[in-house]
Symmetry: C2
Subunit: 254 residues, 2 copies
DNA sequence: CGTCATGTTGAGCGTCATCAACAGGAGTGG
DNA sequence: CCACTCCTGTTGATGACGCTCAACATGACG
């Protein structure tokens, strides 16, 4: 395979984490990304109502899926990281029902629908993996429903940290040492409040309560969880719902 | 085609609402349902942790997708009606992360995974439609996230009625006359509270507030919306997110 | 006639939202 | 370099919304 910094690589790596792609598929994917664009934080990549002709692939940065209510309130419904294709549904539906936006500076690739369709027809296994991608999304969305509806503010926030820690570790972007985990956390409290459905002020206070438990802390855009097990217990976190995203043993990672 | 009361028919009808299936696919589906089972209300069809060997097809009744927290609280994350295959993900993931349960008495068919896989291999268009089914689910889940996180109790409840009214009308199970819509509503307030993430008592009070607006009423297990537009405005309901489920023009319906 | 499930109502309290103010750091222009 | 602005995080005060506990009403069913 060619250099690590080629955009396609991020995609191929991610797909190979989910399933073992035949090398001919890897090769066929070499040039799918027709265009790469970079964004500042808080920019829309695709917006509610758009009728995209390309699918986006996240190459770098944190991305949110979100909806904006009439009153202007924004609700983040999912977080996405590098390697993910968040708008596969645009292949099937006429207009998008939500926004996909950057949370941080980000780099995004674009695959023409026609090209993707053709590839999936040629390699049904590819269609299956992309299907599975959407199932991962759906499983996470369901857990978020529970999180938003049924957990107190502190647990709700803790749960997001547990989920992100788990997923980032799979991407090779969180470190674990004994009971401690640690990872970059570029979100502002405003963004976090949009994800938790809490007011900014209350998010701030809950976050401080969470810090007071000594189970975790945020400093300098970095989350440190001091006792993963205890935090997971506090949050009521059960990683089963992420199973479809868990990398296969022996899959290539960073 | 054979009699309306054959189980497969419910499935085929539903799939044909989403896309135009070649008749050979219709025929291939004739005998996919290996088994039909009936359930009382509030029974689990498949449970958290199960490793199903069949996919369920709802033939009749109201079904919920739900998760139960450690503390025993149940959160309903989706409602499903006849024709739908709610656990396609079991084709890909080892163990289920949530329950699929009956809300009312229900009749459910089961398709062996192996058979379904073989059919999808033979007819890629079938795989595509099922993929699209999961995308519909995901779109609805996202809107529920917003509903649960960002709307007040009255709006939250109103929004569910608006969604159900729209979807049931597509299934031919809601009637519309001028500004008025009406449909069967078999859920108890307890079940509704599990879907809205509110306490039973507060669900009751919000429901009465909603009735006080004169925009809708529930009597005898039947919802009547007196002014659909106004209720939709109150709820902040925008049906765009349901687009992927909207029947094609000229699709066969009841 | 009693039991059980569901719906309704009251009272009191806790969680979370809102409004407001201020502190600190980053960036900008004078 | 300082003054200014903007963004983010923090804290206080107050009130609204929703929860909990409790009681009672109603209808279905035995």
């Amino acid at each position: 395979m060619s250099g690590v910094h080629q955009p396609t690589n991020t995609l191929v790596q991610r797909l190979n984490m989910l399933a073992d792609l035949p090398s001919e598929v890897d090769q066929a994917l070499e040039n799918v990304i027709a265009q790469v664009r970079t964004y500042a934080a808080n920019q829309d990549i695709v917006s509610q109502g758009d009728q995209p002709t390309h699918c986006a692939v996240i190459l770098d940065g944190w991305i949110s899926r979100n909806k904006v209510l009439k009153e202007g309130k924004r609700q983040i419904t999912a977080l996405h990281f590098a390697g993910v294709t968040p708008d596969l549904q645009s292949l099937f539906t006429p207009a998008l029902d939500h926004n996909i936006s950057t949370l941080t500076e980000a780099s995004v690739g674009f695959i023409p629908h026609a090209h993707l369709r053709e590839l999936m027809e040629r390699f049904p296994v590819l269609a299956q993996i992309f299907w599975r991608e959407t199932l991962v999304d759906a499983a996470i969305a369901r857990e978020w429903e529970v999180n938003l509806a049924a957990r107190s503010s502190v647990k709700r926030i803790a749960h997001i940290f547990c989920e992100v820690a788990t997923r980032l570790e799979w991407f090779g972007k969180a470190t674990r040492e004994g009971a401690t985990m640690s990872f970059q956390w570029p979100l502002t409290q405003i963004q976090l409040s949009e994800a938790t459905g809490l007011s900014v002020v209350h998010t701030n206070r809950s976050l401080m309560q969470l810090r007071a438990t000594k189970l975790m802390d945020i400093t300098q855009q970095r989350v440190t969880i001091f006792d993963v097990q205890k935090l997971e217990a506090l949050a009521g976190f059960n990683p089963d719902y992420l199973a479809a995203e868990e990398p296969r043993k022996g899959s290539r990672q960073n």
